[in-house]
Symmetry: C2
């Protein structure tokens, strides 16, 4: 039982209408690891500079995250500066400094190569392919991507898409990649290219899972205080893969539960800046929100008027 994540480890400076954080712990691999570690053993592959705070390392270690694949280089850690307005579905990037991430190549330690669940964070699709060449027999490979790669590395991205089992993508991106506005059609087109599972992330509107012929629509967990949505998608991925790894299964019911846990982990993340919301997440709180998700979405399959006789005669 182990989940491997390859992605950015970052120091983020973020401003939203609800506050700001400076050079705070962030990045795909960090959010993913903290979320997935509630379920399973996580193996992290990424790179940091010599300015990376020891407290970040300690936090990951305290959650049992294996850092054998974390490269340490001279220079500065990847930095992202962004802001959100009231519509926190949309991040506005003010500055991106790749720093040590610019020359990063993922080297998968021997001890990671039998990982069963593999998450290819939103990095250059050519690096994602490098990861796939190094792992042996994963049960489930999943990729995330973004408009930057869709526009600049489309061929490489298409090659990764053809090789992975699952694609996590947001609605604007799947529309851009497929050229298809209707999300059902776009997902169907993407499934035809290879991946058995497509998860479309819709920010505050939740997510859609396409698994074979099964479609599952789930709202975001309703949150009273959304302060910073950075890392929500990566936390979703961590909850999703971590849960599946824990079950050691990718059956449709487990996939649905995994999407709900992804949603729940994302909800903790958005409640505070950086990883502070996720740090507060524990198994009791997580299960409480899972149960609440079941309650607030419950449609009674046997509603009274489903019986024909309740409907107006002669229509």
């Amino acid at each position: 039982m182990s989940s491997l994540v390859v992605g950015s480890v970052a120091l983020d400076t973020v401003e939203t209408p609800y506050g700001r954080a400076d050079d705070a712990l962030g990045g795909t691999a960090v959010y993913f690891s903290l979320a997935a570690s509630l379920f399973t053993a996580v193996q992290l592959v990424g790179v940091v500079g010599d300015d990376f705070p020891e407290s970040g390392i300690e936090l990951l270690r305290s959650r049992g995250v294996d850092l054998a694949g974390l490269q340490r280089r001279q220079g500065e850690t990847f930095r992202w500066v962004g802001e959100y307005h009231h519509d926190m579905n949309v991040a506005h990037t003010l500055d991106t400094r790749l720093n040590v991430f610019e020359t990063f190549h993922p080297t998968i330690p021997e001890s990671y190569r039998d990982a069963e669940f593999v998450f290819l964070g939103n990095i250059d699709p050519e690096l994602q392919l490098e990861v796939l060449r190094q792992v042996r027999q994963p049960k489930l490979t999943t990729l995330d991507t973004m408009n930057f790669w869709i526009e600049r590395k489309r061929d490489a991205l298409t090659e990764v898409i053809q090789r992975v089992d699952a694609v996590l993508i947001n609605d604007a991106e799947i529309r851009e990649y497929t050229g298809c506005y209707n999300v059902l059609k776009a997902a169907s087109q993407l499934q035809d290219a290879g991946p058995r599972y497509i998860i479309v992330k819709r920010g505050e509107y939740g997510a859609i899972l396409f698994a074979g012929d099964d479609i599952f629509l789930v709202p975001a967990f309703p949150t009273w205080d959304v302060r910073d949505t950075t890392g929500a998608g990566d936390s979703f991925a961590g909850g999703f893969l971590g849960y599946l790894d824990r079950c050691s299964s990718v059956n449709p019911p487990d996939l649905r539960a995994a999407v709900v846990y992804g949603t729940v982990l994302a909800s903790f993340t958005v409640e505070d800046f950086s990883v502070r919301g996720l740090e507060r997440a524990d198994s009791a709180g997580m299960h409480e929100r899972y149960g609440r998700m079941a309650a607030i979405t419950r449609v009674d399959a046997a509603a009274p008027t489903v019986q024909r006789d309740l409907v107006r005669e002669g229509v």
Copy 2:
């Protein structure tokens, strides 16, 4: 058992990326009536000019809609000209000609005044108040509104909101009216003003019902071909109130089922221009979609990891 609707009867000219319709049957009262008539007897209050096509009258009659409250005036029927781009959550108005609707005052026929379920379509809140003064003991009064009235008739709108049982409103509008971006907070603020039930419509992302402390989130019915979203909200209202009227109940489980039927009726409407999609809706198709809504949203309350022992020890 009867549902009363007061609202526009219109001839709409609409263009979308999927086609267009010219001077086609539309308006709140028409969409509402066709949807609600699948469940109950509908009483319509509105106005048309002498150019209104007899086929429109016949269609409403064929669904058993009572037209005693439909005023006929010399002049032209209300006309709306609009277009949608790919994002069909947003209508772009090109022209609005109120015509006979400009001087409309709702006169509720004596035979309508005992209506149990009352829908105040999106009209001047002062006219909505006129309606409330004429009905006797409705079980549930519901209003819809729009940005135009929020900006121009805020005091009158607030007075109606304080008097109705339920408010149907879209997410942009509830944010504008309350000045509160978070929809949970906005709905709570609106409930404090009086209405027991708030239904926030989110277009392709579905709807949220706030009923006392109960929150229910439901996605839109996933539709492969969305051709024209005009009338979706009014069809939702028709399905919602029609269902409750049929049950003669406003218990929480019935409210949830009513929201699902609203969602289902809206899905028929968006599949074609004007009322053509709604004309094709029948009880079998409606129940089939209701069942499908239950299936595609089902979250297993007893997912394996909800059992504590499946979660990583020591976290």
